[in-house]
Every structure is written in C-alpha cells, then in structure tokens.
Amino acid sequence: MIALDRRSMLEGIGGLIGLAALPADAFAAMLGKKTVVNKKAGHAPLLDKRTTALVTALADTLIPRTDTPGAVQVGVPAKFDALLRDWANASHRAAHIAALAAIDSAAMGKLGKPFALLSVAARTTFLKAYDAEHFASNADYAKLKDLLVSLYYFSEPGATVELRYEHSPGAWEASIPLTPATRAWAGANGS
C-alpha cells in the first residue's frame, strides 16, 4: 500500500496544505527544513528537499485547488515519493527524477529561478508552455505527468469529491442524460 502519511507530509512542507495555491516563499522555507521521516512507514523521503519542493510545486500546478481539493491537498507529493521508492525500478526512477530536473533547469534557463520558487502565476504560465511543447514528444515527461495526475484521481478526494465513484453501482444503466454538470466516473480503470 502507498505509504501516505498526510500528517508528516504536512510537517514536511511547513504547514502549507490548505492554501489554494502555494506561495513561493513557502517553498523557500521548505528548502531550509530538515528531512522529516515518515513515521508511519518508517521511511525517509526518497527525494531530496529541493526535488520534493519541485514535485510539490509541479503537482500543485498540474492539479490546483479549485472548488475541490488539489493534488497537494490530497497528498500527491508523498504518494509520488512512495511510488518512486516502492514501485519504480531503478531506471524508471532515474527517468522520473531526470524528467523533474529537466523542468527545473528549463525554468532556470528561462526565468532564472527553480520552478518551485516561481510565483503561482509564473509557474502556471511556464508549465503550460512546457507541457504544450513536451506532452506529445517527450515520453518521460508524459509519464511523469500521468503518474502525478493519476495519483490525484486515485485518491479518495480526487475520486469522490472531484469525480464520482461508486464501489458497488448495483445497476448497469446503459443510457443516462449527459449534462454540463455530469461528472466522470472515477475508478481503478480510467481508460
């Protein structure tokens, strides 16, 4: 099971959770904090502080809090860390970390700051352009994005507050109206 200990993650990023979008100085504070061991799982985070800040900012930019929780509120950064540690093999782990680093160095090159230290508006604008350029042509980036996004929709809030999930639907209703208010079904198979 994914070692998601939301509380230690909260501590780890200095009480940022709950903010609609995370201000840059919060990440700066985080970069100075010492590593917090996930007590429940008994693991230190796999990623270093700078990368954790990057993952957190990236997840927050991909799936921000709107009228429903965003990726950071549901613990995607810690889930991603656990996925790299518990699931990915060495070469894929390296590829995911390299894909993260590529985003950071592109941000440095273009805007002179690590991605996590950009303002919310700046990282959104930057990532939108980066995504448009790399989504179709850069498989490592696309996979990284798929993992972060999927961890959100696998989470209980992602599946039940943002989307709709029925573990046991009971009936099969082959035709129901589709309106602008209709939410997609969550589930283990999102294809």
Binding site: A82, S150, S168, W172
Partner: protein
C-alpha cells in the same frame, strides 16, 4: 479408495467434480495450489485509493518474478496473489518462439480470474477439421454437446440474448446487459454497411437475474463493479469457488486436497487401467498416492499434457495415453493482438455502473463463401465514454483547465479486438525437458509453438475488418496495432490431447475417454480438436459434464 479423482479444481475440474458427486461418486479433487476461501481471500473490497502503488506491482518484482504473467491485462497489485511466479514455475521456449503461459495455482485455478465470456461452438466449428483437412475430425457434433451446453449454462448462469445465428448457437440465457447508446449507433452503422456482420451484446457468466438454484448456493446479482479478477464476494460470476465446488460439496461426496501437485498417474500393468495419482506436497515435498476407480484429468491444457508425459513407464515409455504420439501436440491458442481504438460522435448520453461485459461480433468469414483463407475470427469490443485517465492523457493541458477537462465524461470511444481460430499443427507442442526439473523434481516443459501462415493471415484480415467497421460509424482511429501477441496470451490454450475417431491419431474418444486407458478422462482444453474462435471455457464445462455422465454410466455397467 475413492470412486473418482479429479486432478485440478479450475473451470473444468470444478464442473467434473460437481457432476461426479451429484451422480453419487465419492470424489477427490487434487489441487496443486493453496486453498482459497470464497470471499475471505478476495480483494474486491479495495477502493481505488486502497490499491497498493495505484495498482502497480513493483517493477523490479515484475521483472524478477512475473516476466510472463505481467503481460496479462488482469495482473495488478490487487490480483498479484492469484498469479504464479514465473521464477518458481519455469518453462523453456526455443529462441524467437515466445509462448506466454498465464496461470494461477490455487483452489479454483483460473476460474477466479477468467474473462467470463461464454459462447457455444457451432456445428460449423465441430465440422471444420473434416471440411478443410487440418487436424483430425471431431468425434462429436453440435447435437452431442447441445444438451450439455443447456445444462451448464443453466447452472452457471449466462447473461445474453438469443440471436438466431447458426455460427453462434443460442442458449439458456439470463437477461442481457443492455448496450450503451454509442454501441447501438455502432451496431446500426456496421450492420447497415456489412449485412453479413452482427454486432451483439456479449454473453458472460454473470447473474443478471439469479435463479433459485443460484441463490441456494449463496450466489447473488451482479453489482456491475468490474472488479471481477479480484474475486467476487457476491458470487455473481461463475467460478469454482462461488459455484461448482459448493454444489459438489453439498452432496457430501466431495473431498478436496490442496497443495498436492500431481506428479503422475499410476497404472496397473496387468489391466492397463489407471489406479491412482501420485502427488507431491508442495510444501513438505512428501510423496503420496491416492487411489480411485476413475480419473478425470483437468489440470489445464498444458498441465494435463505434462502429467501424461510424466506418467511414463516401461509399458508406456512415451507417456500415458500416448500410443498415438499426439500427447502434447497440436497446441493452439486464439490469434490475438490486432486491435483498433477510435473516437466517434454519438448521442449526448452517458452510462452508470461498470458493466463487466462488452460487445461481440460473431464470426462472419468463410461461412458460406470462401474468403481465400481458412476459418475465421470474431471481435470483442465496446463503445463507452472515455474514462478519466484517457481524457487526462488525450492532449496537453495543465491546471484548472486540465482539471475541468477531466471532470467531465470524454468522447465516445470505440474499441475492437479480434480473436481468431488457430489451426491445429502437430509441430506446435510441449515436451518434457531431458534434464531440467522444477523444485519438486518434475521435468520442466519445453513449449514450442508458433503461428502458421493462415494464422498470420487471419491477424492481418481482422485488423483490416476492424478498421473498416470503425470507419463505417465515422470513427476517428486513434490507435491500431497489427502485432500478434505471442501464442498463449489469448489464455485459451487448447489441443494437447485431442479428441478423435482414430486411436492412432488422437488421444481421446467421443466421451473424452483416453483411447488407451479406459478409466482415464480428460475434459479441459487439452481435448479440443480445433479451437473455434469463441472463448472456450463453456465448451470445457459442457465436455466435463457430459464425460462425467458417460464415465459414471460405464462405471455402473462395469465396462471400465
């Protein structure tokens, strides 16, 4: 001393044991794997957020222990315990001839994780070998199987609709699962453009409306969860654990021994009859023997061949029931791999529930006219709204915009995947390795199986046809593949102890009785003289029930 021993507790062994028990025989099931408890050992309780690693088995574990099993669509972190570790159960394949042997060793076997599609063979299928000369003629025809199909369908519960198609006979059905509006549109467009093709609702072994005999066994209505491969605590699809074994147990005639790997079948050199089964305890490695008057071998197509080949003796140096030299030969699997996905416009509607079933397009090639190659293929598929992950990955997008896109159901997505009939070929075979054994000292198998020219041609034609059908409904094709999966990955292995009329060229007679050993019957996929293109489990179950009837009659009459 038992009246009967059934080797294997899967799809075929479960029905064989039930029928033998119900006919009054004290029956022992020998299962090589561990005991599984219906309900308690399932993982259908896991919510999406409970799935270990979001459903992924650690990649290094997959590489080390599941390099073959991981190719199967149903292998994930919720079902991991239902698949064998390839590292523990090795077999060899010649270079450049991969074969994917997908299996699970536990009580109930693959009946726990099966795809549940349930179709009859037709007269055309059973006459195919006689018609074109490939393989040997089936010693039975549709009329021989039909009442047993009726009996098994009624018992297991099959959702479907009667269609009146000679190539896919109707049966005893519970209510069909309705089509989505996208599927109705697709059906209309395909049937208009191609009058010889029919798009029908899939037939599956799910209880859409349980009958009293289902409820008596503790089985309930399908909840449309599509968590089936994790085991169903509702018992809504047929499996040995939900259905056939409880029916066998309530007769008071059933004994089950798990963790008992069938090593070989013992025969009496004086009479030539089988007297028992030698097993190895999978944990203690202790060797034991169980005796019975009658033996049903239902260890799966490849497993049953292994048991026969390993039952070699001075009298039968080539293995038991193998005077024809056909044991292990004629290995088939459905031709599988070519598939097409597309998006299409359609009605402004959606669907609720996760229907564990799809569309089916029965075979339409080489029925009356000659299409220039042999046999044919059918398709499974469906038309559903794209799910969240497909929508999320459908194009670039970040932030609130991405979230808003994924929030809503996607476009209609239409998919078709072909299943083709593979010709029997004696050179496609399994043999025992001369020196290598598994950890129980049983010779490992060498599986040597490749697609032939006709098989490859079917693969090409099925892709062309699938694309033409998507075009008929104006779909935009987003993904297509012509690649054939390695044989085995259709998970419909068949043919290693084929039925036939002549003991010189076949292993089993018209009663699934071995020509050589009168009290030995084989009713799993090994018996298949040809493969049809339909999902085969129903036929194994019908043969099991039918053979159990004849075997019991022969036993009573004292002829075996």
């Amino acid at each position: 001393m038992f009246d009967a021993i059934v080797i294997g507790s899967g799809m075929s062994g479960g029905i064989a044991a039930k029928e033998l028990c119900e006919r009054g025989l004290k029956t022992l099931i020998i299962e090589r794997g561990r005991k599984l408890e219906h309900g308690a050992d399932y993982t259908d309780w896991m919510q999406p957020w409970d799935l270990p690693n979001g459903g992924g088995i650690p990649e290094e574990v997959l590489e080390k222990d599941y390099p073959v099993q991981r190719q199967c669509y149903a292998v994930n972190s919720a079902t991991q315990k239902f698949w064998v570790k390839d590292s523990q159960h090795p077999y060899e394949t010649p270079e450049n001839k991969p074969f994917s042997w997908i299996r699970g060793y536990h009580l109930g076997g693959r009946s726990i994780m099966w795809g549940r599609q349930t179709y009859r063979l037709s007269e055309m299928d059973l006459a195919a070998n006689a018609r074109d000369g490939h393989g040997t003629d089936w010693p039975i025809r549709y009329a021989d199987l039909s009442p047993w199909y009726d009996k098994v369908e009624t018992f297991i519960g099959v959702s479907g609709a009667n269609e009146g198609l000679p190539q896919l006979p109707d049966g005893q059905f519970l209510p069909a699962m309705p089509m989505t509006d996208g599927e109705k549109l697709f059906k209309g467009a395909v049937e208009k453009k191609f009058p010889d093709r029919k798009v029908i609702q899939g037939r599956c072994a799910h209880l859409t409306e349980p009958q009293p005999h289902h409820l008596e066994l503790g089985r309930g209505t399908c909840q449309n969860r599509s968590l089936c491969e994790r085991g169903c605590s509702y018992g809504a699809y047929h499996s040995s654990l939900s259905s056939s074994l409880p029916a066998a147990e309530r007769t008071g005639n059933l004994t089950i021994v798990t963790d008992a790997i069938a090593h070989s079948i013992i025969t009496d050199p004086k009479t030539g009859k089988a007297t028992g089964v030698r097993i190895i305890d999978q944990h203690s490695k202790e060797v034991r023997t169980y005796e019975a008057k009658l033996i049903f071998l239902c260890a799966s197509t490849i497993g049953s061949a292994q048991v026969l080949l390993n039952s070699r003796s001075d009298a039968n140096p080539r293995g038991l029931a193998n005077s024809s030299d056909q044991v292990g030969r004629n290995l088939m699997d459905h031709i599988y791999g070519p598939s097409v996905t597309g998006t299409m416009s359609g009605p402004n509607t959606f669907h609720r529930g996760r229907r564990p079933n799809g569309l089916y397009i029965p075979r339409y090639r080489n029925l009356e006219k000659d299409d220039g190659y042999l046999r044919g293929y059918g398709f499974q598929g469906g038309v559903m709204r794209q799910g969240w992950r497909t929508v999320a990955n459908s194009g670039p997008g970040v932030g609130a915009e991405l979230k808003e896109r994924v929030r809503h159901p996607g476009e209609w997505s239409v998919r078709l995947a072909g299943f083709g009939e593979m010709l029997p070929n004696p050179e496609n075979r399994v043999t025992l390795h001369a020196t290598k054994t598994d950890e129980w000292g049983i010779p490992q198998l060498i599986i040597d199986c490749v697609h032939g020219e006709n098989d490859k041609e079917l693969g090409r034609r099925m892709l062309e046809d699938a694309k033409a059908m998507l075009n008929a409904v104006g779909a935009k094709i987003t993904h297509e593949t012509s690649k054939l999966h390695p044989p085995g990955l259709g998970i419909h292995e068949m043919g290693t102890a084929r039925m036939g009329r002549d003991p010189k060229t076949s292993v089993l007679n018209q009663y699934n009785q071995t020509h050589d050993v009168p009290n030995l019957f084989i009713t799993d996929g090994a018996a298949m003289a040809s493969s049809g293109c339909q999902n085969p489990s129903l036929t194994y179950m019908a043969m099991s029930a039918r053979a159990a009837y004849y075997a019991t009659e022969f036993l009573k009459a004292g002829t075996i």
